[in-house]
Structures are given as structure tokens and as C-alpha cells.
């Protein structure tokens, strides 16, 4: 057996049991060289996770189905080898960091893998030290994993896998639930692992901007590999990435659409973009830019009354954690506010006060004239709807209709009215015709929209959304945001928590950045995103197009805006 290749996939096909109609992967061939860093991208349902799970034997060992072809990892035939044996060769890190950590402290978490392989204790001690250094968690030895931040938890998960000394690491969307700087931390570790030794790295990722550091990018769709090659080349092909449905890099997309050229050598990042901008003799048309700014202003003048007011809010959890530490803000009718902050900054705690799920320790919240201290969640629920992050935390009914009818029914609406409200809500989320479907059989994006509809059916004036785009692919994210924008245009006030920065820059009117329970910045999106350095200090990173415009001393928020105010074209 040749062992010069780390991974050899030959004609892999897999059909999940219970879903006999669709093949998750359709005859994939993929070789990964020793020491290579490969990023796998593609929309939901592309078969990326299926591919990852078949590398360490979870497929077909753990998840059953029809298996064809072969996968060799370090020369071992994966099919027929126990997952626990494969753990010596390849470490797998999952997206859900909460569920993969289970020990009482960091040391024990990392020791678990080596213990299983009977590594002597002295060596385990050495390994812990080494691994903690690699994942930058020195000094956390005795901390409980539950007390770590999201980024730290995911780094610990990587560490716990590294400790068995596999020479291949595969990460399945490791950064989906992390804030931008937490993401960066994971990618830094990946890069260092790649540089420092002959680790082979396979990472499944949605973020195009981060894939640039890889040796090779593999783009999948519908169970097939569409294209692979140097990320600089593959990702420069904006037309292709647009077509597949992964997010195109903003800088080449902007220049391609602006200059209308097919095969020119486009820059990929803001720095090169800036140079290219100058070379091409482009400049910002001040008149047009002023138009953008005055459009913002007009929109602000069109807002209604204050509908939600937060006064000196403090929230202290029973364990003494001061999660919200003196926040005041007023939100007016028809505003679209994005609340940003790192994992654990207190943003979820803050918004949970808005519909009375949490009571203030100090201060007051007034929603539509009602103080949340004096009214029940049920009453405040008429004014404000709350869409939780994970749609699976609220879906329970057998049909989409019943799910959405839950709220109006419980509020005593007549049958006629329930029907009317359900169809109105379904129209709003573009799921008309789905009434009789089983919500559990829908895709994640569709379930998320059902969750939104089930809140809309109560006809709230204000809608709070906790990370509505997390875990969705680019197309689904875009669709979700268009829907929220439509709701906003039709008069709803929107308050949204998110980590996805391009979503904020393209859709939000106003940004409040929270750090350690305090508001660091609060203002119109354009003004806040101009302060790139300060954002970075709050663990937030602006999208590429915003960074480029900031280098040009203006702040534009989307490719469309940038195209609109670029002047100097021949």
C-alpha cells in the first residue's frame, strides 16, 4: 500500500439510511498529499460532512447507509476499521463544541484521548503541556470547559483531538458558531499547525475570506466535486462561486462587476484591492458618496416613536457574573438594529430582557409603553416577538400549519383569524404551500423560516432575532436577510444579534457593539464601521469591501454602494 498520500478517496458513494432517494456523495475521487492544507467548500447538502465523516470511519461505522467505493487514510482502509482505531490516524473536530467537550477540566479533556490509547501518565502530562501551547490555552489547565468562551471551547476541542497525535486533522465547520475574532483564532492555529510540521489539514468552511490561506480549495455541490485547485485561482472566478452559491470574495467581485472583465488578474484582499484601485486610476465620486450619506439621514428622519427603551440596565446572574453592566439605549419604530459582540459579551442577556424573559437586576426596560417588570411575557409578547437562535428549540408540531398557528391559538384567536394569520406569516417567509409538511423534514434554512413565521403570526411590532443566519449557507443567509429586510420595510422594528459581519453591513441601519456587558459603540452602521480599529478591539472584523473603502477614507457598506460611488472609469 502506498502511504505517500495522506488520504485517498476513490469513487466514494454514500446514501443515508432512511433517505434512499438522494445520494449524499456521488462517486467522489480525492487525493490529499501529506502535509497539505485543503479547504472544502460548498452550499448545504453538498456532501461535505459526509465526506469528512467517511474519513475517520463514522461513515459507515456509526452512520448507516449504502456505501460504495473506498477511502484510504494513511494506507488504512477506513471501511471495516473501528472509529477508535482511526482516531490514531485522523482527528475529527465538530461544529458543535458544546457537545464534544465533556470533562470537568481542561487537563482531563485533553488527557481523554491519550488515556484511551494507554499512553503512560508521564507522557500524557507532557502532551497536555504541548497541546495547550499549540491551541493557546496555557494557564487554563484547571478551568471547567463550561466556563470558557466559544472560541476557547473550540480550541480546546481541537486540542483534545491533537493529543492523540494523529497526523491528519479534519475540522467540520469549526468556526460557524464563533465571533469573528474567535474564527481568526481557529484559523491561526490551523495555519501554525500547517507550517510547523507535516500535519495534513482538511477544513470544511463557509468563509471564503479564510480559505485563501489553504494550499488547495475543493468546491462541492450536490455530492460532487465541481472544481479544485489553488484558492487564489478558484476564488478569483467570481462567476463560478456565484453560481455554486458560496459567498464570492467581495474585492474581486467588485472589480469584476465594475470593469466587466472576464479573465483579468483581479486582486483578492483589501490591501491589493487598494493598490489596484489606484493603478486603475479610480477614485471615489464625492457627490455620489454624499448621496449615500444623505439617504441614510433621510431614513433616520423617517423613524417613528421610541418603541423600546433601555435605562441603565444591569443584570447579574445568580453566580455573580455581571453580564450586562449599565446599558442604556432607545430604539425607534422601523429601526433595524444589529447587536454585535464577542461570544459571552452579554448581548443575548441584553435582548432577553426585551420581552421579559429576564428581569433587570437594576434599571428598566419599557416596550411600547409597558415596563417589563410589571407585565408578563405573555402580554409583552403582543408587542415583541423573539426568534431563538436554534429553530429546533421551538419546533414541536406535526405540521407547519400547527406550528405557526400555535401563537395565535394560544392567544384565543378565532379559527378564521388563525387561518388568516398563518397564511399571512407563511407568505411573509415565502413558504406558502408548506402548510401540511412536517417541519422536521425541512432543511435548516426552511426550519429557520418556519420559526420566524411562528413568531410573525402573533403580529408583533418588534421582532428580535438571535443569530438568524448562523449555520445557513450563503444563499440561505441571503434569503433570510432579504426576508427580514422586507419585514422591516413593511413597518416592523428589527433587533438582530449576529456574528456575520457582511449581513450587518448590508442590512442593518444601526449597530450597537457590546463588549463585557457595556456598549462600546452605538450609531449608524456607516459611522461605526468607519472605526475599524475599535471594532477589532471588540473582537469584530469588517468585511473586505468596507475595509477597502476605509482605506480610501470613506465607508461604503456593500459592493453595490461601492460600484455606485466609484468614479474615474475610462
Amino acid at each position: 500500500m502506498s502511504s505517500d498520500k495522506a488520504i485517498e478517496v476513490k469513487g466514494l458513494t454514500f446514501t443515508y439510511k432512511g433517505d434512499d432517494e438522494t445520494q449524499a456523495v456521488k462517486g467522489i475521487d480525492l487525493d490529499v498529499e501529506r502535509g497539505e492544507f485543503v479547504v472544502i467548500m460548498g452550499p448545504s447538502g453538498a456532501g461535505k460532512s459526509t465526506l469528512a465523516n467517511s474519513m475517520n470511519g463514522l461513515i459507515p461505522g456509526f452512520m448507516k447507509g449504502k456505501y460504495g467505493g473506498s477511502v484510504l487514510v494513511n494506507g488504512h482502509e477506513v471501511k471495516g476499521t473501528p472509529v477508535s482505531r482511526m482516531a490514531k490516524e485522523i482527528g475529527l473536530v465538530f461544529q458543535d463544541f458544546e457537545a464534544q467537550l465533556f470533562s470537568t477540566n481542561v487537563n482531563l479533556e485533553i488527557a481523554f484521548g491519550p488515556e484511551n490509547f494507554g499512553v503512560p501518565r508521564d507522557e500524557i502530562v507532557q502532551r497536555i503541556e504541548k497541546v495547550l501551547k499549540t491551541v493557546k490555552l496555557e494557564g487554563f489547565e484547571n478551568r471547567q470547559p463550561a466556563t470558557l468562551s466559544g472560541g476557547q471551547k473550540q480550541r480546546l476541542a481541537i486540542g483534545s483531538v491533537l493529543a492523540t497525535y494523529p497526523d491528519i486533522i479534519c475540522m467540520d465547520e469549526p468556526t460557524t458558531d464563533l465571533d469573528p475574532v474567535g474564527k481568526l483564532g481557529i484559523f491561526t492555529i490551523a495555519k501554525e499547525l500547517h507550517e510547523s510540521s507535516d500535519f495534513t489539514l482538511v477544513i470544511i468552511e463557509h468563509e471564503t475570506e479564510e480559505a485563501l490561506h489553504a494550499d488547495r480549495v475543493v468546491v462541492m455541490k450536490d455530492g460532487e466535486i465541481l472544481r479544485q485547485g489553488n484558492p487564489l485561482e478558484v476564488l478569483r472566478e467570481v462567476r463560478f462561486t456565484d453560481e455554486v452559491g458560496i459567498m464570492s470574495l467581495q474585492i474581486p467581485k467588485y472589480f469584476k462587476e465594475l470593469l466587466n472583465c472576464e479573465n483579468c488578474d483581479l486582486p483578492l484582499n483589501p490591501e491589493d484591492g487598494y493598490k489596484f484601485f489606484q493603478q486603475q486610476g479610480l477614485k471615489i465620486d464625492q457627490g455620489k458618496y454624499d448621496q449615500l450619506v444623505s439617504r441614510d439621514e433621510e431614513r433616520r428622519n423617517g423613524y417613528g416613536e421610541v418603541v423600546l427603551s433601555v435605562e441603565d440596565l444591569v443584570h447579574v446572574y445568580p453566580n455573580g457574573n455581571r453580564a450586562v453592566d449599565g446599558i442604556s439605549m432607545d430604539i425607534r419604530e422601523r429601526e433595524f438594529v444589529a447587536i454585535l459582540g464577542h461570544n459571552g459579551s452579554g448581548k443575548t442577556t441584553l435582548v432577553k430582557h426585551f420581552n421579559g424573559l429576564l428581569a433587570p437586576t437594576e434599571g428598566n426596560i419599557t416596550v411600547g409603553g409597558k415596563n417589563t417588570r410589571e407585565h408578563s411575557i405573555f402580554e409583552i409578547g403582543k408587542e415583541i416577538g423573539y426568534v431563538f437562535q436554534n429553530p429546533d428549540h421551538q419546533i414541536f408540531a406535526d405540521t407547519v400549519f400547527d406550528e405557526i398557528a400555535f401563537s395565535p391559538k394560544i392567544r384565543g384567536s378565532s379559527e378564521e383569524e388563525v387561518k388568516e394569520r398563518v397564511s399571512e406569516a407563511l407568505d411573509a417567509v415565502e413558504l406558502a404551500g408548506y402548510e401540511e409538511k412536517d417541519p422536521f423534514s425541512l432543511s435548516k434554512g426552511e426550519r429557520q423560516r418556519v420559526a420566524v413565521a411562528s413568531v410573525l403570526s402573533a403580529r408583533p411590532k418588534i421582532i428580535v432575532l438571535d443569530e438568524p443566519t448562523t449555520g445557513l449557507d450563503y444563499k440561505e443567509q441571503k434569503r433570510m436577510m432579504e426576508l427580514i429586510k422586507k419585514l422591516n420595510d413593511s413597518g416592523h422594528t428589527i433587533i438582530m444579534i449576529t456574528h456575520t459581519m457582511w449581513v450587518v453591513s448590508e442590512y442593518a441601519h444601526r449597530v450597537a457593539a457590546i463588549k463585557d456587558g457595556k456598549i462600546m459603540m452605538d450609531g449608524p452602521t456607516r459611522e461605526v464601521f468607519a472605526r475599524e480599529k475599535e471594532l477589532y478591539d471588540s473582537y469584530l472584523k469588517t468585511p473586505h469591501i468596507v475595509s477597502l473603502s476605509n482605506m480610501l477614507d470613506r465607508t461604503v457598506l456593500s459592493i453595490e454602494e461601492m460600484k455606485f460611488c466609484t468614479g474615474g472609469l475610462q
Binding site: 482516531a87 482527528g91 475529527l92 465533556f102 470537568t104 482531563l108 494507554g118 503512560p120 492523540t164 431563538f388
Partner: protein, 265 residues
């Protein structure tokens, strides 16, 4: 939110070997099961509380105070009606009240003893302690995993309650039957989320080599020290004395005479 019962401190009790703590817990259970005498049970409860106080974990009892109080109330109310006796007032009997108190102390004694054990012993130590007393590793791990999953389930159901309350679910009002129906929107998402979570959990376990071989090594080093033997000795002595009291008729009569109404043997 911290859902683990374990309190990460470094006290005398925390430093004891898990086997010692396991033994002490079972001895407390034994006394609880053996006796139907209020005096004995109160004495045992006091000893367990002192032992917990040494571990600085009594504050953890606050978290289950609702459970403890409910058990006491239910036990007293139900037994005072159900137990027959001579000293009757309305539908209650005095014997029943005392019997209820006895059962309440018995139950609470065992819960508190279990709580002290879980608050002072890491889950890994429990598993390792069980392995050391020859429980197969997989069994020990399954047991410790069950303890581990409780906080996960509690945290998930907490989020789900909040999500459904936000949609207008009102758990407080309505008749009993209506209330039961109201729990459907909570049960289904909880089950779905827990099944999903445990699925990732078991995949993560296998991906870290769980079950690779039966010769596992151990990062935690368990060693019985003088303190362990001392505590075991104290525990065993107390139970021995208690057994003597139970099985020697004269001694037992002396005990009963301390508080004749509190004995139900």
C-alpha cells in the same frame, strides 16, 4: 450558566479518594435504609451535614432546596392522612405526622449524602473510583456519562422553556389536564435536541479513540492516604455502633426511650 453539581474546591473532603467518598455515601444510605427511628436518622443527617460542611459544599444544597422542602411537605401531609393511629384530629393522625417526618428525614438524608458526594467528586474521579473497585470501565463510564448528561438536558430544556414562553406558552394557568397538554411543546424539542446532542457526543467520544483497547491509562492518579483510611474507619465504626444498637434489644430499647414516639420499627 453552570449546571454542574461539582464544586471545584480544594478541601479535606475533595482531596479524599473517590472510593472513600463512595463508601461513606453507601454507609449513609445503609443507615437511612436500616432505621425507622427519628433520633437515629437525625443523628445520621447531622453527621452527613458536618461531613458536607468540611467540604464547603453546603451552599450547593440551596440549589435543590425546592426538592428537599417538597419531599418534606408531601411526606408529612400524605403520611399524616394515610397512616392510621389513635391520636386523631380531623383527618390527620399525630402518629402519621411523626411517621411522615421520619420518612422525610430518611429521604433527605440520602439525597444530601448523594449531593455531598457529587459536589466533592469530579465525574472522572467517580468513573476511576468505580474502575478501581472492579466495575468494568465501560460500565463506569456509562454511569458517569449519565451524571454528565443531566446538566446538558437541564440547560437545553431551560432554553426551550424560554423559547416557548416567548411564543406565548403560559405554563402557570389552566387545569391539570390542560397543563399536561402544555408540556408537549416542551417535550418534543427537548427530546430532539438531547438526541441530537448525545449523537454528537458519542461521535466525539469515538473520534477520540474511546473503546480502542481495554488497557486504558489514567491521567488522574488515585491513591489512598492515611486520611482515607481514617475516614473509612470512622464511617465503619459509626455504622458498626449503629448496627449494635439495632440488633441488641437492650441497647435498642434505651434508644427508643429517648423519644418513644419517633420509632416505627
Amino acid at each position: 450558566m453552570d449546571m454542574f453539581l461539582y464544586m471545584d474546591l480544594n478541601t479535606y473532603v475533595h482531596r479524599l479518594d473517590p472510593r472513600t467518598k463512595l463508601l461513606l455515601m453507601f454507609l449513609s444510605f445503609a443507615v437511612g435504609v436500616m432505621y425507622k427511628n427519628i433520633v437515629m436518622l437525625v443523628a445520621a443527617l447531622v453527621l452527613v451535614l458536618i461531613y458536607g460542611g468540611m467540604g464547603h459544599i453546603l451552599s450547593n444544597l440551596k440549589r435543590i432546596k425546592v426538592v428537599l422542602i417538597m419531599i418534606t411537605l408531601f411526606s408529612v401531609v400524605i403520611w399524616s392522612i394515610a397512616q392510621s393511629g389513635e391520636t386523631r384530629f380531623l383527618i390527620f393522625t399525630l402518629e402519621g405526622v411523626l411517621y411522615g417526618i421520619m420518612i422525610a428525614i430518611k429521604t433527605n438524608l440520602m439525597i444530601v449524602a448523594g449531593m455531598v458526594f457529587l459536589s466533592t467528586t469530579k465525574i472522572e474521579e467517580i468513573a476511576e473510583g468505580l474502575v478501581k473497585i472492579k466495575v468494568p470501565y465501560r460500565g463506569a463510564f456509562a454511569f458517569s456519562t449519565a451524571i454528565r448528561l443531566v446538566p446538558m438536558i437541564v440547560a437545553t430544556s431551560y432554553t426551550i422553556i424560554q423559547a416557548q414562553k416567548s411564543r406565548g406558552l403560559d405554563l402557570e394557568s389552566g387545569s391539570l389536564f390542560e397543563k399536561i397538554k402544555k408540556y408537549v411543546p416542551l417535550m418534543i424539542p427537548t427530546l430532539v435536541s438531547v438526541i441530537r446532542g448525545t449523537n454528537v457526543f458519542s461521535m466525539a467520544l469515538e473520534s477520540k479513540g474511546f473503546g480502542y483497547s481495554n488497557n486504558r491509562s489514567n491521567f488522574l492518579q488515585l491513591k489512598m492516604s492515611g486520611h482515607d483510611y481514617l475516614m473509612m474507619l470512622i464511617g465503619l465504626t459509626i455504622v458498626a455502633v449503629a448496627s449494635y444498637l439495632k440488633f441488641d434489644p437492650t441497647a435498642y430499647n434505651t434508644l427508643i426511650n429517648l423519644f418513644p414516639w419517633g420509632d416505627f420499627a
